[in-house]
C-alpha cells in the first residue's frame, strides 16, 4: 500500500498547494496574473496527470481504498476514507478539463479583478478539490466534508464581484439555501449512522454490509436518512424541487463563476450520488430508484417549463440545467446498467455548458450579471463562427443528432429503458422537444434577427481556445462517441 499512499489524494493535494501558491505569489510578487496562470495551470495539469496515473495504477493493481483506521484490536484496517478507482480517476479528469476550460475562458475576469483575482483562482482550485473529494470519498462524512469544501468556496465565488449589485444577493441566497441543504444532508448521514451504525461505504463495517447482513424490520429512520442524503445531493445538482436557488444565483454571479459552479458541482454531485446510492443502499434500490425517478421527472418538467419563459440567457441556462439535472438523474438510474452512459452525459453536458457560458462571457462580458437573450441579436452576421458554436452547443443540449448531446441522451435513455424506466424515457424525450423552444430561441435570435449594432465582439484567445475545444469535443463525441464511451466503460467504482 505504501506505493500509493499519496496517489489517492494527489489531486486534492496538488490543487491545495496550487491554491496556496497563488495566494503566496499574490502576496509576494503582487498582481501578476501570469504567475497565477502558470501556477493554476500547473496545479490543474498535475491534477490531470494524477488522475491519469490513478487510472493506470488501478488498471494494474485494481481499485484501492486508502486512509483507514486500524481496528481496536489493531488487526484489520477499516473505515477507509478514500477510494482510488477508475471512477474517481475519470471524475478527476473531467473536473480538471472543465475547470481548465472555465479558467481559460474567463481569465479576462481574473485580470480585471486585480489582486483579488488570486483569491478567486485559489477559491476555484479549492472548490474543485472539494468536488473531487466528493467523488472519491468512501465515507459519508468524508463526502460531507468534500461537499462543504466545494460549497463554501462557491458561496464566496458567487458573491465575488462586490461592486455589482446582485452579486451579494446571489451569494446570500446560495449560502442560505446551500447551508440548509448541507444540514439536511448531514442529518441524513446521521440518521443512516443511527440506523446502520456506519457511515462507511466500504469495508466490513460498511452500510452495505450491515444492510446485507440484517433484515430491517422497521427501516423508517434509514429511509428518512436516504431521503435526506438524496435531497442534499439533488440540491447540489439543482434538481427540482430543490432548484430554485440556481437561476437567481446564476443570474447574479459572474458568468465565469456560473460556468464553473453549474458544471463542476453537477459532475461531483452526480458521481457521488451514484457511488453512495449503489454502494451504500443497493438493498433499497427499489425504493430510492423510484424516488430518484420522481425527482428526475419533476426536474425535467419544471426545468423545461420554466426555461421557456426566460428572457435572460443565464436564467435560461439555469433552468435548462434543472432539466439536465433531471436527465442526469435518469443517468443515475441508467448507471445500474451502463455507467459509461452516465459519464458520457456528464462530460459532454459539462463541456457544452462551459462552452456556451464562455460565449455568453464573450458576448456580454465575463463580469456580466444578467444577460438578456437579446444581446445575441444578429450575432450570426457579426460573428459567424461564434454563432455556429452557439448553434452546436444549443443543439447538443437539445439532443439533436450530430452532437454529443444526442449520443448522451441515446445511451442514457437506452440504458434507462433497459433498466425498466420506459415511462421516464418517454417523458424525458417529450420534454426535450419542449426544450427546443428555448434552445432554438437563442439560435433564432442569433441567426434570424438582424441588428443595427455596429461593432463585432472580438473573441480573445482564451475564450477562443475554450470554445473551440468545447465545440470540437461536442462534435467529435457526437460523431465518434466510442472514444469516450469505451473509455468510460471501465470507470467503475470500487465495489
Amino acid at each position: 500500500m505504501g506505493n500509493i499512499a499519496f496517489l489517492p489524494i494527489g489531486l486534492e493535494v496538488g490543487l491545495l498547494v496550487g491554491a496556496l501558491g497563488i495566494l503566496m505569489a499574490a502576496v509576494m510578487r503582487g498582481c501578476r496574473t501570469r504567475d497565477w496562470a502558470i501556477i493554476a495551470g500547473t496545479a490543474i495539469g498535475f491534477g490531470f496527470v494524477v488522475s491519469v496515473r490513478q487510472w493506470v495504477v488501478v488498471g494494474d493493481i485494481g481499485p484501492q481504498l486508502a486512509y483507514g483506521t486500524k481496528g481496536i484490536d489493531g488487526s484489520a484496517v477499516a473505515n477507509q476514507m478514500v477510494a482510488m478507482d477508475k471512477f474517481g480517476a475519470l471524475g478527476g479528469m473531467i473536473l480538471m478539463i472543465v475547470v481548465g476550460l472555465v479558467l481559460i475562458g474567463s481569465w479576462q475576469m481574473i485580470t480585471d479583478l486585480g489582486t483579488r483575482g488570486a483569491e478567486y483562482v485559489a477559491l476555484i482550485l479549492l472548490s474543485v478539490a472539494g468536488m473531487h473529494m466528493m467523488i472519491v470519498s468512501a465515507n459519508l462524512v468524508m463526502l460531507f466534508i468534500g461537499l462543504e469544501t466545494a460549497s463554501l468556496a462557491l458561496y464566496v465565488i458567487a458573491g465575488f464581484l462586490r461592486d455589482r449589485r446582485g452579486s451579494d444577493e446571489s451569494a446570500m441566497k446560495y449560502f442560505l439555501m446551500g447551508s440548509f441543504a448541507s444540514a439536511l444532508f448531514i442529518y441524513g448521514v446521521a440518521l443512516v449512522f443511527a440506523a446502520t451504525g456506519s457511515t462507511s461505504l466500504y469495508g466490513p463495517t460498511s452500510i452495505g454490509m450491515f444492510l446485507g447482513g440484517n433484515v430491517m424490520p422497521d427501516p423508517g429512520i434509514l429511509l428518512i436518512g436516504i431521503a435526506l442524503i438524496l435531497v442534499g445531493l439533488a440540491f447540489k445538482m439543482s434538481a427540482a424541487p430543490f432548484h430554485q436557488w440556481a437561476p437567481d444565483v446564476y443570474q447574479g454571479a459572474s458568468t465565469g463563476a456560473v460556468a464553473f459552479m453549474s458544471t463542476g458541482v453537477k459532475v461531483a454531485a452526480v458521481a457521488a450520488m451514484v457511488r453512495v446510492m449503489y454502494l451504500g443502499f443497493f438493498q433499497f434500490y427499489d425504493d430510492w430508484s423510484m424516488a430518484v425517478a420522481l425527482i428526475a421527472a419533476l426536474s425535467i418538467l419544471v426545468g423545461t417549463a420554466t426555461a421557456i419563459a426566460q428572457s435572460d440567457i443565464k436564467r435560461m441556462l439555469a433552468y435548462s440545467g434543472v432539466a439536465h439535472a433531471g436527465f442526469l438523474l435518469v443517468a443515475v438510474l441508467a448507471a445500474r446498467v451502463s455507467l459509461d452512459s452516465m459519464w458520457f452525459y456528464l462530460a459532454t453536458y459539462a463541456v457544452s455548458l462551459v462552452g456556451m457560458l464562455t460565449i455568453v462571457g464573450v458576448v456580454a462580458g465575463v463580469n456580466s450579471g444578467p444577460v438578456s437573450i437579446d444581446s445575441f441579436r444578429g450575432l450570426g452576421k457579426k460573428s459567424p463562427m461564434l454563432s455556429v458554436a452557439i448553434a452546436v452547443f444549443m443543439f447538443s443540449m437539445a439532443g439533436i443528432p450530430g452532437t454529443s448531446g444526442f449520443i448522451a441522451k441515446l445511451v442514457v435513455f437506452t440504458a434507462a429503458d433497459l433498466n425498466g424506466f420506459r415511462w421516464l424515457v418517454v417523458l424525458a424525450l417529450l420534454a426535450s422537444v419542449a426544450g427546443l423552444f428555448f434552445y432554438l430561441r437563442i439560435i433564432v435570435v442569433a441567426f434570424f434577427d438582424d441588428t443595427d449594432a455596429e461593432e463585432t465582439p472580438s473573441t480573445p484567445t482564451g475564450p477562443r481556445i475554450a470554445i473551440g475545444f468545447a465545440v470540437a469535443v461536442t462534435v467529435l463525441l457526437g460523431l465518434w462517441p466510442t472514444l469516450l464511451l469505451d473509455f468510460a466503460r471501465e470507470a467503475l467504482p470500487h465495489l
Partner: protein, 523 residues
C-alpha cells in the same frame, strides 16, 4: 469492395468543406463550385441506378458496428425501395443550387446548409441501422431550419421554429420507440441491437407491435405529413426559400412515407395489418381535406403545399393497402411528386423573384407575357394532377387500382381527389396565367436560359417516367414483393386476389405474380 454508399453520403460533406475553404475574396466561385460538386453525388446515384441488380435485395451493403454493446453502427444498403429516393435526392440538389443564384446574403452558409441537408437525406434513405436512421432523420432538420429561418420570407421565424419543434415532437416518439424496440428485442437477440436486420427477425407480441407501430407512425405521419398533423407544412413551404421548398416537398416529406414502408411494414407486420386501415383512413381524409383547403388558398405557395398533403395521402393509402401495385405505386409516386411539386416550387420561385408576391390575386395574364414559363407551369401542374403520359399518373393510377382491393370505400373517396385536384390546380392556373395581363405583369421577362436549364431535366423526367416507367418499376418490384410477402408470412394477411381468379376461361396477358408479362409481338 469500394464503399459506394459511404462515398455517396460523404461527398456532400466534402463539398461543404470545400465550400468553407473557398477564400472570401473569391466568393463568386461559390455557386459554380457548389453546383459542380453537387453533380458528383448525382453521378454516383446514376451509377447505382444503372448497375442496380433488379433481383432486388440490399446492395452495396456496408456494415461497421461502432458500438458493439448496443450494436449501433454504420450499416447501410440500398434496395429497390430506397434506390430511386436516393436518385431523386441526388437529382434535386444540383437543381436547387442552380435555383439559388439570387441568394446573396450569407451564400456560403446557405450552400453548406444545402450540402449537409443532402447528406442527411441520403443517409435517411440508405440507413439500415435504426439509430443511424434517426441521426440522419434529425440532422435534416438543422439545415432546413436555418434555410427557412435565415433565407426565408417575412414570417420565417415562426415557420422555422414550428417546423423544427413539430417534427422533433414526432421524432421524440420515434426515438422512444426505437429504444423500446431494441430493448424489447434484447432477450431474443442476446444483446441490444439497433440493426434493422436483427430487429426485423425478432417476433414481437401484438401489444408491443401496436405501441411501437404507433410510435413510429406518429413520427412519420408528422413528416409526411398526414392530416391532421399537417399544419407545419404550409407555413414551412410558404416561408422557405425556393430551394428549401423544393427539397422539402421533393425529398424531405418522402422520409416519412419511406419510413412507413421500411419500418412500419417490415418491423410490425401484425400491427400493420391490424391498424393500417386507420392510417389509410387518415390519409384519405387528408387527400380530400387538403384538396378542399387548397382550392381557396390566396397564396400560390400555400396552395401547392396543401396539394402536397393531398398527393402524399395517395402514397400512404397505397402503402397500407399492401398490394404490389399499390405499394409500388406509392413508391413511384414519391419520386413523381418530388419531380412535379419540385418543379412547381421552382417555378413559383422564379415568378417570385420577378414580382415579389405570392398572392394569386396579384398575378393574371402571365401566359401572354411569359409563354415559356406558363408552358413549364402547365406541364408541372398536369404532372401533379396525374395526367396520363406524365409521371404523376403512374403512381396515382397504380395506387388507386391496387388499393381498391383492400380498401374499396376509402379508395373511392381517394379517387375523388382526382376531381378536386383538377379544380384547385386549374382554377389557380386560370387566375394566374389567363385573362389579360395586368399592369404590374405587362413587362415581366420570360425565363432566361439558366432557368430553362433548371427546368428541362425535370420536364424530361416527368415525361419519360410517365411514358416508360418500366425501368423504375422493375427495380422496385422484387423488393416491394418481398415486403408484402414478409407480411403474408408473419400474419394471416393474404394479398387480395381478383374475383375471377382461377375461373377465367380465356387467360390472355395476365402476368403471374412476380413474372413479367409476355405478350405476343413483343419487340
Amino acid at each position: 469492395m469500394f464503399p459506394v454508399l459511404a462515398f455517396l453520403v460523404g461527398l456532400p460533406v466534402l463539398a461543404a468543406i470545400a465550400i468553407v475553404l473557398i477564400p472570401k475574396s473569391r466568393s463568386e466561385l461559390l455557386l459554380p463550385v457548389a453546383f459542380g460538386l453537387s453533380l458528383l453525388p448525382l453521378a454516383v446515384a446514376g451509377y447505382m441506378v444503372w448497375t442496380f441488380d433488379t433481383a432486388g435485395g440490399f446492395q452495396w451493403v456496408e456494415s461497421i458496428i461502432w458500438m458493439e454493446r448496443l450494436r449501433i453502427g454504420w450499416t447501410v444498403g440500398v434496395d429497390g425501395i430506397s434506390l430511386f429516393l436516393v436518385a431523386l435526392t441526388a437529382f434535386l440538389f444540383p437543381i436547387s443550387i442552380l435555383a439559388s443564384a439570387k441568394i446573396s446574403d450569407r451564400l456560403r452558409g446557405y450552400l453548406v446548409s444545402l450540402f449537409i441537408l443532402e447528406t442527411g437525406v441520403l443517409g435517411v434513405f440508405i440507413a439500415l441501422d435504426l439509430v443511424l436512421f434517426f441521426v440522419f432523420f434529425e440532422i435534416v432538420l438543422i439545415p432546413m431550419f436555418f434555410m427557412i429561418g435565415i433565407w426565408g420570407s417575412s414570417n420565417r421565424k415562426y415557420a422555422a421554429i414550428k417546423f423544427f419543434v413539430y417534427t422533433a415532437f414526432g421524432s421524440a416518439f420515434l426515438l422512444a420507440s426505437i429504444i423500446a424496440l431494441a430493448v424489447n428485442a434484447g432477450p431474443v437477440l442476446q444483446t441490444v441491437s439497433f440493426q434493422w436486420n436483427d430487429l426485423a427477425q425478432v417476433p414481437m407480441t401484438s401489444a408491443a407491435q401496436t405501441w411501437l407501430f404507433f410510435g413510429f407512425a406518429i413520427a412519420f405521419a408528422i413528416k409526411v405529413p398526414l392530416f391532421p398533423l399537417h399544419t407545419w407544412l404550409p407555413d414551412a413551404h410558404t416561408e422557405a426559400p425556393t430551394a428549401g421548398s423544393v427539397l422539402l416537398a421533393g425529398v424531405l416529406l418522402k422520409m416519412g412515407t419511406y419510413g412507413f414502408i421500411r419500418f412500419n411494414l417490415t418491423l410490425f407486420p401484425e400491427a400493420t395489418v391490424k391498424y393500417g386501415k386507420w392510417l389509410a383512413l387518415v390519409a384519405v381524409i387528408g387527400i380530400v381535406y387538403a384538396a378542399l383547403v387548397a382550392t381557396v388558398q390566396p397564396d400560390i405557395k400555400r396552395l401547392v403545399a396543401y396539394s402536397s398533403v393531398s398527393h402524399l395521402g395517395f402514397i400512404v393509402l397505397g402503402t397500407f393497402a399492401l398490394t404490389l401495385s399499390s405499394v409500388q405505386g406509392g413508391l413511384i409516386q414519391m419520386v413523381n411528386h418530388g419531380l412535379s411539386t419540385g418543379a412547381l416550387f421552382l417555378l413559383i420561385g422564379m415568378i417570385y423573384e420577378r414580382t415579389h408576391t405570392r398572392k394569386i390575386a396579384d398575378y393574371g395574364g402571365l401566359a401572354s407575357t411569359m409563354p415559356i414559363f406558363s408552358g413549364f407551369f402547365l406541364l408541372a401542374v398536369f404532372a401533379s394532377i396525374g395526367l396520363p403520359g406524365l409521371n404523376g399518373f403512374i403512381g396515382e393510377f397504380m395506387v388507386l387500382i391496387g388499393s381498391w382491393q383492400t380498401f374499396p370505400v376509402l379508395t373511392v373517396v381517394a379517387a375523388s381527389g382526382v376531381v378536386l385536384s383538377a379544380i384547385y390546380v386549374l382554377w389557380a392556373y386560370e387566375r394566374v396565367f389567363t385573362g389579360p395581363p395586368g399592369k404590374a405583369n405587362k413587362d415581366l421577362e420570360d425565363l432566361n436560359s439558366r432557368e430553362i436549364a433548371i427546368l428541362v431535366p425535370i420536364a424530361v423526367l416527368i415525361v419519360f417516367l410517365g411514358v416508360y416507367p418500366k425501368p423504375v418499376l422493375d427495380r422496385m418490384e422484387n423488393d416491394v414483393n418481398a415486403v408484402i410477402s414478409r407480411i403474408e408470412q408473419s400474419t394471416n394477411y393474404e394479398r387480395p386476389t381478383f374475383d375471377l381468379e382461377g375461373r377465367l376461361t380465356v387467360d390472355v396477358g395476365v402476368p403471374e405474380q412476380g413474372e413479367s408479362p409476355s405478350g405476343e409481338g413483343s419487340e
